[in-house]
């Protein structure tokens, strides 16, 4: 069973339907024990960082997520579900995150007046080009996803991991943006697979079918 963690976020329903379309058995929950027992965990996030972190705290979900992640179970974070893994965000703050991944969440600054923030729409994503990391294993959640595929973004902030080798996908909007990270059992994306039509459904299918 895949637990979709309900943290007062708008896109729960879309994420649930998309995971079901991808063949997943899901339960939407705000119960910490259900999160602890789930086989896989999805944290969809949409909205403002501070509101989201407050929701996590009030529902006592922070520790449940930490435990589930530490146990090695597959975790898929979407948008704020990626950002809250980090130490802190500039949004509504600085505001502390869960601190599971070292790094911070910074406001997008494309450096060109014609490039607007929020970064809204379909942008191409590709693994970062790093010459000395050819031995890196292929990302299983991206099987069947072409390099340079378009996915749907809608955000004003993005994560900057302290360890750049965690970046699994990046996009360019004036500057390089962290589009997805992989850290052990964690995969988290800044874009919205549940809104990215066929490409997004492929990523969700890979997550559903992945063996822990």
């Amino acid at each position: 069973m895949i637990a979709i963690v309900d943290v007062c976020s708008g896109n729960l329903r879309s994420v649930e339907r998309a995971l079901q379309r991808a063949g997943g058995r899901t339960v939407v929950t705000r119960d910490p024990d259900t999160v602890r027992r789930a086989d896989k965990i999805v944290v969809p996030g949409q909205g403002a960082f501070g509101v989201f972190m407050r929701g996590l705290t009030e529902r006592h979900l922070g520790d449940a997520l930490r435990e589930a992640i530490a146990s090695g179970r597959p975790y898929l974070g979407i948008c704020l579900g990626l950002q809250v893994l980090f130490d802190e965000s500039e949004e509504q703050g600085p505001c502390a995150g869960l601190g599971i991944v070292r790094g911070r969440v910074a406001r997008l600054a494309p450096g060109d007046r014609r490039l607007k923030v929020p970064h809204i729409g379909w942008n191409r994503v590709a693994p970062p080009h790093v010459a000395d990391r050819t031995d890196r294993p292929a990302e299983p959640l991206l099987a069947g996803v072409a390099g340079g595929a378009h996915v749907y973004f809608v955000h004003s902030y993005h994560a900057v991991p302290a360890d750049p080798s965690l970046v699994a996908l990046e996009a360019v909007h004036g500057v390089r943006i962290t589009a997805a990270i992989r850290h052990d059992n964690l995969f988290a994306c800044q874009f919205h697979p549940e809104k990215s039509q066929a490409v997004g459904l492929q990523i969700l299918r890979n997550f559903v079918e992945a063996v822990p």
Partner: protein, 257 residues
Amino acid sequence: MTLARRIIPCLDVKDGRVVKGINFVQLRDAGDPVACAAAYDAQGADEICYLDISAAPEGRATLVDVVARTADQVFAPLTVGGGVRSVGDAERLLEAGADKIAINTAAIRSPQLVTACAARFGSQAIVVAVDAKRRVPTSAIDGWEVYSHGGRTPEGLDGLAWCRRLADLGAGELLVTSMDRDGTGAGYDLELVRAVAGAVPIPVIASGGVGELAHLAAGLEAGADAVLAASIFHFGRHTIDEAKAFLAAAGIEVRRS
């Protein structure tokens, strides 16, 4: 690698039904917004927009159900506007599956609603719709005036100043409709698009007046991040993919699915 420009078909919805149903494919029910949205999703629309024009509150309650049913089967971004007057209205639509909500008249009545919604849901979920009409050439000041209530009521607000203020209030995107061009098929008011896109740091969706594919290209070249159109797609004159092929040939970055 750059952000693709978006093509957004817009459906006017009244009491849960599409006002002018699309007729480019055989739909069992061309008046069903969900069927229309699914058809556009299949064509590769970058986003779908519902604008609710129901007069009565019951119609808007129906809209929440329409949005939920859309989210069940359409995996493309959905923007929903019309009748959003409170944080609660916005929350119901977002929870039902909308990705962004569009506020229009209520933003003029209470600008703090924009700020409250942005604080609660993040700016990226808040579109403000601005209906602008050119001032008569003889008036002492030129530019555009903001209208409310579907373009019926002049508000005495300067279009560009209002757009700048909305960005400051926390709007994440502006949907700018030219009341002069809406329904004419004569193309976007390109001066309006250019002026607004240059005035605000947030994305601008051009709306009002598309009659042919070249109008979409002109709107994007004038600085719009996205183009919204209705009848050019609804009546089957062009598919979304034809529009994208046209734009790609014009050197504009689009997503081909």
